[in-house]
Symmetry: C2
Subunit: 131 residues, 2 copies
DNA sequence: ACGCTAAATCGCCATATAGGAATATGCAAG
DNA sequence: CTTGCATATTCCTATATGGCGATTTAGCGT
């Protein structure tokens, strides 16, 4: 259950270094691609990203997430189900409420990378206008 | 109205994060979330992942990508347009052919992270079956 | 000009999914 | 058991998107 992090494939340290390291082009199976695509799809929705972003501040119950999300309770419930099935969040019943938390640490890395890219692209576009 | 009564910051972090990787929970704007979601959506498709996976081996023209993708030329063309609009690949005309290449190095990181997670989950599920 | 090839685009269909209202379920208090 | 709150689920509609065939566009050689 608990794993003293043996640095899964060295991904942690490579995070902040956008060097042009081309890894050996290992071909992935079709089945693997389907699974990977499913994970990306779970992140391909603004409301779900808002939920994850809120959960980055710590555990929240569903009502709190509904308030933070700007959409209805039914939608949030469905989006949470998607995130849970993708293994990204954990949900536990606590009396009347359901408490949610991020269960997949790679969510942080993925969002961090995307944000960095977004910043870089925006900046590049701004430079293109000025220069 | 209500505040998160139990864990302020520590509980779930102890569960899933080693030590260092907790970024300050910066709230992202709705506009940023839409842009980030769009980038994830570009990766949320097996055929597009196959194209990227192929391009990880170096530049390829569209015909080569069609052969590697297992789907039709029209589809590949549309998928390539999606990846280009997401800023992940570059395309240049070279005589009759169009040569494609990965233009966003974060693609490597993102796929690497997803593959690691996939391996970890699959392994955990296998352990759960064996006991 | 023509034909040929590579790639992009269009039209259509089928499916997936986000959104929302209504309803059902689970749980605790009285 | 009944009431009330917090979530989940169901049903529905609108939209987005993938796949495919057919057509169009683009560039090279003749």
């Amino acid at each position: 259950m608990k794993h003293p992090p043996p640095s899964p494939a060295g991904t942690f340290l490579n995070l902040c270094m956008p060097s042009k390291t081309a890894p050996p082009p290992k071909a992935l199976s079709d089945a693997a691609l389907v699974l990977i695509a499913a994970r990306f799809r779970a992140l391909a929705e603004p409301v779900r990203l808002r939920l994850l972003n809120t959960l980055m501040g710590g555990e929240r119950n569903v009502t709190q997430l509904v308030e933070a999300s700007g959409t209805g309770q039914a939608n949030v419930s469905k989006h949470l189900a998607v995130l849970r099935e993708a293994g990204m969040i954990a949900m536990r019943r606590e009396g009347l409420t359901t408490v949610c938390s991020i269960s997949d640490p790679s969510v942080y890395q993925l969002c961090e990378i995307m944000c960095s890219r977004l910043r870089a692209d925006t900046e590049a576009r701004a430079r293109a206008l000025d220069g």
